[in-house]
Amino acid sequence: MTAVLTVEDLAKHFIVGGGVVDRVFGKKAQVVRAVDGVSFGIAEGETLGLVGESGCGKSTVGRSILRLLDPTRGKVELDGQDISRTSRRALRPLRQYLQVVFQDPFSSLNPRRTVGQSVAEPIANYGLAKDAALRTQLEDLFKRVGLRADQIDRYPHEFSGGQRQRIGIARALGTRPKLIVLDEPVSALDVSVQAQVINLLVDLQQEFGVAYLFIAHDLAVVEHISARVAVMYLGKIVEIADKKSLFESPRHPYTKALLSAVPSADPDAASQRIVLQGDIPSPTNPPSGCRFRSRCPIAQAICASEEPPLTTQATGHKTACHFAQSGPLVTSPPTAADQIGR
């Protein structure tokens, strides 16, 4: 399998403050390290799930790949071509293969344009179809995402949230992209509608062979739809693995805590919850060494001084932790023997 997207050491820092007024009062500009060195790849037709809590930088990764933000550092290769530094003009033809679906179905469509016009826009931009052919293509797309052809000329307010999300998906599919960035595509939807959209995304992937970068905070949804999953914490990927490996034998303490925190609808599920203490630290001033150490139940002295690299533990399973191990999280600190045996 060839990689459709390769991300290497991607970073996006925001500068906050530092304006004239701040300078007068002696405030220095602060650097928010929203994304700080993230690497992963997505194969053709594959789904990579990117999960994490709010503020971990998962959406910033998506927006940097889409070049809605200019990355501070690092490389983003779409089909072998670096797009992280390309001028906007040179980027335009490449955007045909890189599309997006946003979270909010209400604001992702221009209220003043018919949904057909919105879906047709990318197709027309690349001159892929015109007039009657465009119309036929629109009708096909609408049917394909579960809408009727006679709904093409209606306005967004005439549709429900789930239907609008289908329209957003149709717009993303029109140019036959190789990768679609799905930024929380179902989190604004009700459970019953969410299932419809997830099933639709799965079907479309099989039909069109498109790869997904599925950004979400809902672990169960990510597990359902992804082939591989990356877990982010404070701008870094802490663990990335095949879905099965990650959910059945997580190795990073954060992943373990995250998985155990999800409430289960099964009344008989044995709930051995690891409740993390405290809040996520601010990305302006992340903890030294391992960023998770301030909340980690097994943190040691080394965690404060040395940042653990993302290393391969098992086939295709990478974890960034000095004490990564599968199995239940043992809160008693590991012995020296554990470290040597690693």
Binding site: P93, D104, F106, R113, E158
Partner: protein
């Protein structure tokens, strides 16, 4: 069991009647403005005489059957002068609304999209805003000389910062809208994004702002004329009629009263229209069907 499970539909009333029920301000305001417009356009056919015709015999004539609004200091018919005065006021209001919005739109769009332009233009706008608009207009007119055209330009310049700030804030919020970002990732050229996705969505707030500018321009023009820095005395405008009448206010209050009423009436009408339009366009009133 399901007896109560029904809805009581209110019959759909379309058009003006529906508008009247939900937003009476729009109808009332539009009607008041329409009266002023009709007066301005049809002035010669509304029983008026030449507003500049001096008839010393009718000096300070009190309002009556022949002189509806009475006569002024030199015996000109106040009714005719007031009706013709609507022309100046409305021309200034409309001219300033269009001019201010056009320039404000350009400045606002530029600052909203280009960061370094924003730094420069917005500081200039801040500077303009720091000067009271009347003073600014007086200064500009004293540089160029009083004429209808110069009055419009002077007041427009004073209004530009307000429009520019509005447009800029709308553009900044629209830029973050997912549908604009989706257009960017769809490869839509910048100019098309501007024309398709940004401009149409700024029109509603601009229309509302336009009515307020209209009203304030009418007032500003009256003030300018009142202090003698506005419309030249050869053209009757509500401002200069009031100015001329103020010296004899204690003996002939009608000279001030009628153009004053006309001024209040028009400004109130335009403001009502603006309030109504704002209610209609306010997203909180847009029902999500």
């Amino acid at each position: 069991m399901s007896a109560v499970a029904t809805t009581i539909p209110i019959p759909e009333v379309r058009g003006v009647l529906r508008l009247w029920r939900r937003h009476p301000n729009v109808i009332i305001g539009a009607a008041m403005l329409a009266i002023a417009v009709i007066a301005a356009v049809a002035a010669p056919w509304l029983g008026t005489v030449d507003p500049q015709m001096i008839a010393p015999f009718n000096r300070l004539e009190t309002p009556g059957a022949e002189f509806w609004f009475g006569g002024d200091l030199v015996g000109r018919d106040v009714y005719s002068r007031t009706v013709y005065g609507a022309r100046v006021s409305l021309a200034v209001g409309l001219g300033v609304a269009i001019g201010g919005i056009l320039f404000g739109l350009i400045v606002g769009l530029l600052s909203g999209f280009v960061r370094w332009v924003d730094q420069v233009l917005m500081r200039v706008m801040d500077g303009l805003m720091a000067i009271p608009s009347i003073l600014l207009a007086v200064a500009l007119i004293s540089l160029t000389g009083a004429s209808l055209q110069n009055v419009i330009i002077a007041i427009s310049i004073a209004e530009v910062p307000r429009v520019a700030r509005l447009v800029r804030s709308v553009v900044l919020s629209l830029k973050e809208q997912p549908y604009v970002e989706a257009a960017i990732t769809s490869g839509t050229p910048f100019v098309l994004i501007l024309l398709r996705h940004v401009l149409p969505n700024t029109l509603a707030p601009l229309l509302v702002q336009g009515t307020y500018i209209f009203a304030s321009a009418v007032l500003t023009e009256a003030i300018l004329s009142f202090i003698g820095a506005g419309t030249p005395p050869s053209t009757p405008s509500w401002g200069n009629i009031i100015a001329e009448g103020r010296t004899v206010f204690s003996i002939a209050p009608h000279i001030v009263l009628f153009p004053g009423l006309a001024l209040s009436f028009t400004v109130l009408g335009v403001n009502l229209l603006g309030d109504g339009l704002r209610d209609i366009f306010d997203p909180r009133y847009v029902s999500r069907t």
